[in-house]
Every structure is written in C-alpha cells, then in structure tokens.
C-alpha cells in the first residue's frame, strides 16, 4: 500500500518505469546510477529546474553487496534528544552496539542490523545523499520505489530493465593476493586429506546426495 502511496502527486506520465535489480550489485555504484536516472540526466531534454526523471523501481534490495569491512564497520548515525520517552531509553539499550560510551542522544546502527531491520532504507539513504540538495529532492525521492524482495505491485506497467555497465574490479594488492592463494591451497589440501580417509569418503557421499 505504501508503494502506491504518492503516485497521484507525480504529474507527467510520459515517464518510463525503469527496474534496477540490486542483487549482487555494489551499493554505492548502483546508487550513483540510480541517482542519474532519477534526476533525468540520461535524457537529452534535461532541464535543471524541472524534475523529469524516470520512475525507478529497485528490487532485491536485501541482496545488495558491499566491499571491504563495511558490513560491520559502516554505521548509520542519527541524533535524537528532543523527546524524552521511556521508549527511547529502551531502544538505546537494544540497538546501540557494544561501545556504550556514546552517551547522550547519539544513536547508531550497523549496516548488518539495518539490512536486517529495513533493507530499503540502505539504498534509499545512499541515493538520497547523492541527489543535489534542492527543492526537487523530495519529488525525486517520491519517484524511487524500493522493494526488499523481487516482487513489486507495478507489474502491469511497461517496465524497462536497466542493464548496469560492467564493473571494473581492481586487481588485488600483492599481499592480499598471496594470502588468498595460500587460503585456496589450504582448502584444497584439506579436501584431499578428507578424501583419503574413510570418514571423508562417507561424508563425500552424503554431500553429493544432498546436492542433488
């Protein structure tokens, strides 16, 4: 119901409906492409004072990936402190991570926890923070519809899939590369040892059955 919420406010329906599949995409790179589409910057009739971006539907928001240690180390922070309820204090105890010297009213939440709680907010924040901060930002926000799963109520419309450009993955740094090769060799040796022993054979048979 929320997805169809503000559709009446968007006037022009010469706009296309683009679908972004976030499965396996890197968060920021996906968000930058979404923001260019939502601003309408991929059209030759771009005008900066009007909002003519296409409607963007993002699916599989919970499968969005992130490089490095951002799963545990990226924090979403916000400041409260105006309302003094009992609820706030309870939330503080539950939500804040182990570091409890954030006294006062600064609350923070892990990327992992945010994905568990509300995965659409991750992409929404990423895209909103990439849009220019002007009066059209809220209208552009209304054009973004994000869904955690792969089902969305806009199936009747003429949808267009957005093909993300291929990603240029940078070559791994030598130390990391060597570590990876060592880990791979270790894993291979462990498999060979297991196949040699009897128990390993039984385990292999069970695994193959399960796979089928």
């Amino acid at each position: 119901q929320k997805a169809l919420a503000g559709l009446r406010r968007i006037d022009l329906d010469g706009l296309r409906w683009r679908v972004f599949d976030a499965k396996g995409q890197v968060l920021g790179r996906l968000a930058s492409h979404i923001s260019t589409v939502v601003q309408g910057k991929d059209k030759p009739t771009y005008v900066p004072n009007r909002d003519e971006g296409d409607m963007c539907v993002v699916i599989n928001a919970k499968d969005v990936c992130v490089t490095g240690r951002k799963m545990t180390d990226k924090f979403y922070r916000w400041h409260t402190g105006q309302v003094q309820d009992v609820n706030l204090i309870l939330l503080l105890y539950i939500v804040v991570a182990s570091w409890s010297w954030y006294i006062g009213h600064l609350k923070e939440r892990n990327l992992k926890d945010q994905l568990a709680k509300d995965p659409t907010e991750v992409i929404r924040k990423a895209v909103l923070r990439m849009l220019p901060r002007n009066k059209l930002r809220d209208d552009r926000d209304r054009k973004l519809r994000i869904f955690a799963g792969s089902e969305h109520p806009f199936v009747d419309r003429p949808l267009e899939h957005y093909a993300m450009p291929p990603r240029q993955v940078r070559e791994m740094r030598p130390r990391a590369k060597r570590a990876m090769i060592r880990a791979q060799k270790k894993a291979e040796q462990q498999e060979q040892d297991e196949t040699n022993t009897k128990k390993g054979k039984r385990r292999n048979k069970v695994e193959s059955i399960l796979e089928i």
Binding site: K41, D42, K43, P44, Y46, V47, P48, P165
Partner: protein
Amino acid sequence: MTRIKRGYIARRRRRKIRLFASSFRGAHSRLTRTITQQKIRALVSSHRDRDKQKRDFRRLWITRINAVIRETRVSYSYSQLIHDLYKRQLLLNRKILAQIAISNRNCLYLISNEIRRKEVDWKEYTEKI
C-alpha cells in the same frame, strides 16, 4: 530666502522607477522605498547573470550531449567525444551538438562513429600533410 517647494521633481524620478518595478510581487511594487531597493537588486542580478548565462547554457549543453552519448553503451562519454572532435578538427560547438542531440539523435551517432572509427586513417592523413 523665499520658500521653495520641491514640487514634482522627486515624483517624476520615482515614477520611472515604479514603472520599472511594476510587475514585482507584493510590497516590492507598491512601496516607494522598497521599489528603489528592488530596482537596484534587479539590475545588479541581471548584470551578473548575463555573464552567468553564458556559463549556464554551456553546462546545460554539455549535460545533454553527455546524456545522449552515454546511451550507446560502449563506455563512450562526452569527454571522449570532445577529444575525438578536436583530433579530427571538427569545429562543431556544444550548442549545435546539443541541438543535434535533441532533434536528430541518429545524426549525432553517425558523427561520433565517423570520428571514432577512422583512427588508423587519421595517422595516414596527418603524414600526408
């Protein structure tokens, strides 16, 4: 000294200014003192923006050309297009390119393909010269 009234001199001056600000909103077209201030501000911003206009339109043309060029999906961009244009000594400016992009997109693709393809021939061409 005899008494001298100012008469209608100030009124004549202010009438001209009021005519200038006659389409402004609210008190800015009704109250004399604010009218003089608003006229000054309007003229200042028009002077400043006349130079800015040239910049703004060039930005707009560049954005539009970029938008159309990137749709070919070969990882082609505005910067590469301009580089190729300069290499081939094609003197189309951004305004015309943007107009081509809006009205006749295939024409722009034709131009970009022509520019990109003949990289080997260009070397021979320069050697001939």
